[in-house]
Symmetry: C2
Subunit: 246 residues, 2 copies
């Protein structure tokens, strides 16, 4: 349960984390992230502000309620973002994939925790330095706003899923949504990597592990999908899509 997202990105050089190619120009996910909006000289400037971050699976990126000191741009691997309630209930508010930016919320303190689902690399920036960098460049600020705006749309879509869909529809919508996101990163899209556990999926969809497992095996039994190690392969995309749209 670890390495497919790396596999997806393996052949290419990474952002400033890689000593051999210190330049963002080589970055595998640049065009997909904020950095895609930067001019070469800006890219160089940002590169200098960046500190490489490399984590193993399960390591913490940041924790809820602590001061938000840094922002992150994920270059490889994936993460989960979640909120814990005092009694231990957990809601995952999102999964972060390569190219995703963590720290769009401008709150003083983190409103959620984030940790790595797989080995992960990211470009880390001090929030202050990053903020200064962005504030001087309206077109970057605009791009940042676009990203936040997109996140907002995704969150609203997730509200629909959480509030008004059945367990089976939730699973379908989750798979279709994730498929679309993986597709942006790598061409192929029949097999959907699932770096997260069933428990994580449940905590994302407002379900229990058992229900997630039951719904997935049911869809598998009905030949709508095939459960493979660390992922699923969609056999009947139309059917899953129909479930997801409602």
């Amino acid at each position: 349960m670890a390495s497919h997202s790396d596999a997806n990105l393996a052949p290419l050089t990474l952002c400033p984390n890689n000593k051999a190619a210190t330049h963002c120009e080589q970055c595998r996910v640049r065009s997909l992230s904020l950095c895609g909006a930067l001019e070469p000289d800006e890219l160089f400037e940002l590169d200098r502000l960046s500190r490489p971050l490399s984590l193993s699976a399960r390591e913490t990126i940041f924790e809820q309620d602590e001061l938000a000191q840094n922002v992150f741009n994920i270059t490889a691997g994936s993460a989960r973002l979640y909120r814990l309630l005092p009694d231990g209930r957990r809601q995952i508010v999102g999964f972060a994939l390569p190219g995703d930016f963590l720290g769009l919320s401008l709150t003083e303190r983190n409103t959620f925790s984030a940790d790595a689902l797989t080995p992960l690399t990211a470009c880390q920036f001090s929030r202050q330095a990053f903020s200064d960098f962005v504030d001087a460049k309206p077109h970057v600020l605009r791009k940042l706003h676009q990203l936040a705006s997109h996140e907002l749309s995704m969150a609203q879509e997730q509200m629909v899923i959480l509030g008004r869909r059945t367990a089976e529809e939730k699973i379908a919508a989750f798979l279709i949504g994730l498929r679309k996101r993986w597709a942006r990163l790598s061409q192929q899209s029949v097999t959907i990597p699932l770096p997260m556990t069933r428990q994580d999926i449940g905590d994302f969809l407002g379900l229990t592990v058992e229900t997630v497992s039951r719904m997935m095996t049911r869809l598998a039994r009905e030949k709508a999908l095939l459960i493979v190690p660390d992922g699923v392969r969609l056999l009947d995309v139309k059917r899953i899509e129909a479930l997801a749209e409602s």
Copy 2:
């Protein structure tokens, strides 16, 4: 079920909609909205771009899937934002109060519908004109990003409520959240105006009307709150807050 939010704002003059005082300087909600970040000359410029909008309760502001032509700044009254599923299920993604800005998502088409819960006034802007105005002013863009970022936090909080809270906790969290928002607009905060129906509350919290009604009457029976016309009065704020935090 109509006029309390107006009552809240009655004594003061409104934004550019009021012919007697055409200047945003008089605007009741200016400091709470995007316009609070504007210099006097910018305010004047924006004023000229604005077209007053005045709707009765239930009138449509915009509809999901149609081209997003305009953005809105609500000056009085309240609205509901929702997504309809093909089979008629509805998820309300938010309620808009005076000072709230509609159109933060930069999507080509609206991802949800919006209509007035009460008689409503707003400043309407062509999206293009507004966008041009903003793009030329980094500090306004920054403010806009802050607003979007705040919306994102609220949406994530709502995801926790939808995914991991019981019916009773949902009601409590809804009331506490709404109380906080009203408090920003008007001092008093014991009585919470509820311009929306029980059905609306249910569609916001992922519950049925019946459950909303039952939970509210239960809290009323237990003397935690008092149901008044068009709202509720919190009798035991600590208790409701405890339920809301979990």
